[in-house]
Symmetry: D2
Subunit: 329 residues, 4 copies
């Protein structure tokens, strides 16, 4: 088999580890790998990874020393052209032209939507890997990049806490998550924050203010709150204003992490997950699977139809919401 590998959509730490695993599994099984640069755009543009011997082919050596790198050596892109019938047909022509039998797209729901459309027009096989910091895909407990993004948020909290303790303040940390509160909730729990505002549950501002007053009475000197950018009450800047208006007794500062969360050397967890899934995706292709995403559920590698991974909202574990409450007394 000749397997094409690419990354698409927002990049996520661990994508390189996933590419590495796919390539090394494939070469260990005797398959060939073509690296496609810049996602679907590269498929349309015939933009392929060229190895040190000048060939458009990835070998085990092409992926040496990348397991620890953030970003992706194949570069990622969003590709509006691919959403058109024309774009898709051009991609299919190029797949045929270059003798590619199968694809391992690494990305999020946009990537898989595209892949699901592609296989309607192409007889090759597709097994995707979930690469997104949002952890908003069904079919896997965690997505590649989520662990590192949480670590980045937690590290920010650890730093804010130094100042918060010194100055008796409330810090609001805004993390990514337009529709999903996973990043905010996990960052809050692991960071020891007092509350999290997530899109999935109503944010009760007077309730927060009362809760903080009570904490202050017990001697609590500083407060950290984590806010998902997509919280229905608004991001950290708006929330800061609303808390001030609601006469919150703590002096409040907002901090916005932004794209920093997408970068950084992947955590061991992300590398492990990426390695297992990149490997499993190729093994699954080898066994004939197609139209599915490789995921890890309860420590076991599983396949889920692409369309099922983004069909529904991945629910936040309610016991973790309760746990955060219990931890902030």
């Amino acid at each position: 088999m000749r397997i094409g590998v690419f990354c698409s959509g927002g990049d996520a730490p661990g994508m390189n580890a996933c590419v590495r695993a796919a390539v090394r599994c494939a070469t260990s099984m005797g398959h060939e790998v073509v690296g496609i640069n810049r996602g679907y755009q590269g498929l349309i543009d015939e933009n392929f990874y060229v190895n040190s011997a000048g060939e458009p082919r990835m070998t085990a050596r092409s992926v040496s020393n990348i397991v620890q790198r953030g970003g992706t050596i194949l570069r990622s892109a969003r590709c509006p052209a691919f959403l058109t019938e024309d774009g898709m047909l051009k991609a299919v022509r190029n797949l045929k032209k270059h003798g590619i039998d199968a694809l391992v797209p690494i990305g999020g729901n946009g990537t898989f939507r595209g892949a699901a459309e592609l296989i309607k027009r192409w007889e090759g096989r597709v097994v995707g890997c979930p690469g997104t910091i949002d952890n908003d895909l069904l079919g896997t407990d965690y997505t590649i990049g989520f662990s590192t993004a949480v670590a980045t948020g937690v590290e920010a909290i650890d730093k804010l806490r130094d100042t918060a303790e010194s100055h008796q303040r409330l810090f609001l940390l805004e993390v990514m998550g337009r529709h999903s509160g996973f990043l905010a909730l996990y960052t809050a729990l692991a960071g020891g924050a007092e509350f999290a505002c997530v899109p999935e549950t109503p944010t009760d501002i007077p309730g927060i203010v009362r809760h903080l007053e009570q904490l202050q009475k017990t001697g609590k000197k500083s407060i950290i709150g984590v806010v998902a950018e997509g919280d229905e009450e608004g991001g950290a800047t708006i929330l800061q204003k609303k808390l001030d208006d609601a006469k919150c007794t703590f002096s409040t500062r907002a901090t916005i992490l932004g794209h920093i969360q997408r970068g950084g050397s992947p955590t061991p967890d992300d590398r492990m997950l990426a390695t297992r899934l990149g490997d499993f995706a190729v093994k699954s292709l080898d066994l004939g699977a197609t139209g599915v995403m490789a995921g890890e559920i309860n420590s076991r590698c599983v396949l889920t139809p692409l369309a099922d991974t983004f069909a529904q909202h991945k629910p936040l574990p309610s016991e973790l919401i309760d746990l955060l409450d219990r931890m902030s007394n």
Copy 2:
């Protein structure tokens, strides 16, 4: 209930997060918490945590700002005295004297052995939490501290790789693990090492040398191997000599991480696990559980009889051993 919390045995990152969770869960439910310093030794010596108001009691405020700290504010110790009947009876007397109804010991198999003996002589309840970097306890997928110890090892590999790449060398990294290869195997996988030597499987030195020769032929410039201190062929220093004797073509350097692996701010994963388990241990005590360890299996909190956690060797996942092989071509 009046609940005693302590840490015992080798310390592990995340113990503080576990203490915090136990305390906050307990206070949120109306229980009292006594912090016992220095493990079983502190129980024998009546050495209790004293809060800022001068009382021998932990409040929600006693555990502020510790979720991110390595080590343990209750300090840990190994306690030979406790292994004697005298020691144990003294501990029991002190538990009664101070009106302690239940215990949350945080530690490894030595800690739980002690706890299992204790409840034969005391009518109080015990729910333990697995705090050890070795991940060698059954009844939980991971132990508190393992994730951070892996991260420390992986970080070391990332640094060694810089030099290995620059100089074309083989670096052997020795990690902890007298009887268990979990740390070595996970560190190798996440670090992108070429091989791991673990106590559970025979280490085939001529085989390693042949494998490295093949890698060199493909253009591989540097090699990292991870060695568990308890590997049957010996630690990194001995292995280095054996590889040299077997005419390994790479110039070899050994590095020994030692106690560095026990320290450091816990990873988000360790904080999450510690928080969940500390909380779950107290909730389980509240529901009447005793003689068990709180663990997490397949993302769910579960209880396992103390004796079952150390009765058998926790097996290394064989699919991860295979995966490492596949990744090092």
Copy 3:
């Protein structure tokens, strides 16, 4: 001598190392130390650090295990009350009441302005230490906290670069610095950014756009720019808009670091500087110095009159501005 030590104004990483050094130097010389909580406010409120023996006194043991901690165990505060004659006289009364002979204030220009006023009304001695991330004080090459704040900014750039490389983008990173470009310039240089916008020099937006176009022609795939919050063209968000309006060909994203820069474990450099200056301040007091700040110039400890440290704008080294230009071709 009975020496009072306090931190005032915005907190800075390394303040704890400075407190530790002042305390240990003082105790090694036979002086007594009183820790004053929350800066000038604590002086007015008689809010003193209480050691584990319950005494309002800092011993060598009071500062164990804090050299590595961000924030300050004495907590910092801004104190409007101190700016009034009443506040100042109350502070003087308390200094006399508690037999304090000398002060080591750790802070920035606000702190030293206060101290300069104080010694007009009090016969005790004052030797300050420069603790501010802004590096905007004369009389020292660097201030305590600057090195760590640069490191935090550089780490952010390293993460942004992962994504920038993957997506071919321009990232603007806003760092602190209302009136001073030190943080922005050093962060840009050490981070390998393409440009820095600082309050000290005019920001030429069409010039930046032309420069980026040229870089793009040479194959440059991603751009990082560092913006001081006090740049005369505005912070990162405003600059992003202006670059878009000027038809910058790179897709631009703004990121705002905020208070994260104040936290974190101090770098070795900040710990060294803080240790040297805290020690030198006490030795200088012992020798009779007063009304001065301890600083380090050309690796040597020196004293500068308090008023001279904030009388003029500390100029950016112009050779570093040229260097950044040369590095971004």
Copy 4:
């Protein structure tokens, strides 16, 4: 001019930043750069860096995105062949053959010894840059890589302290430094260690034991000592035994950092220093300098004859030795 750049000897973090600066300064001035792989060995083997266009030439783009990377993209090597007359003449022939007019060798005293010999046989110019973690070269306050190696050691101490505090132990940390105590002394000071054993001063074991007993009486719970591998009493393992034999009351553990200190992303300080010196070396070549090393003294770039950089032992600042004493009461 056609300038050859290479790294030689033990690699040091910041070498990449130095290569980048030399390249970009050169290209900004209209010079050409040839990257020589693997130090003097590559000069003998005509092993040159090949850019993405397939040419043996480094452009500004060749050094994109490397400022933050440990190791060196040009790889380093020790080269016994170069020490022979034959090797040296071969190198000279190759320099002429490839039209190289000048060299920027980045390395330590071995590198500069070689360069000093080379210019006796070759009419080209040489301006070196000090790249070594040992900081053992005269003509510069600090060498490139020293700051990062200190940071790695300090980070290790921060982790050991967690366990030391929890268990009341003495940890000995062995750092590199066969003949020089800079790394050990700075690591000890910034890490807050209680003592440092360096080759430059006699290590008084009974004195250490007495000092530690006194500290224990004041309530000190844990001790960290830093040992240079070249201390005259031996490395950490031997010292551990000697302390035990001298009846040290603390339970002692030895840890050996090894090559980990050579790796890691360079600190901002190392990047700044490397950037300034790489740039300054090229500018100096352009102005006609030769036979010298570029260094930074008192924040100013200066040139020192190559032979003077290794002619004498670089002395440890005695005031820092005193400072460490004062800090450990």
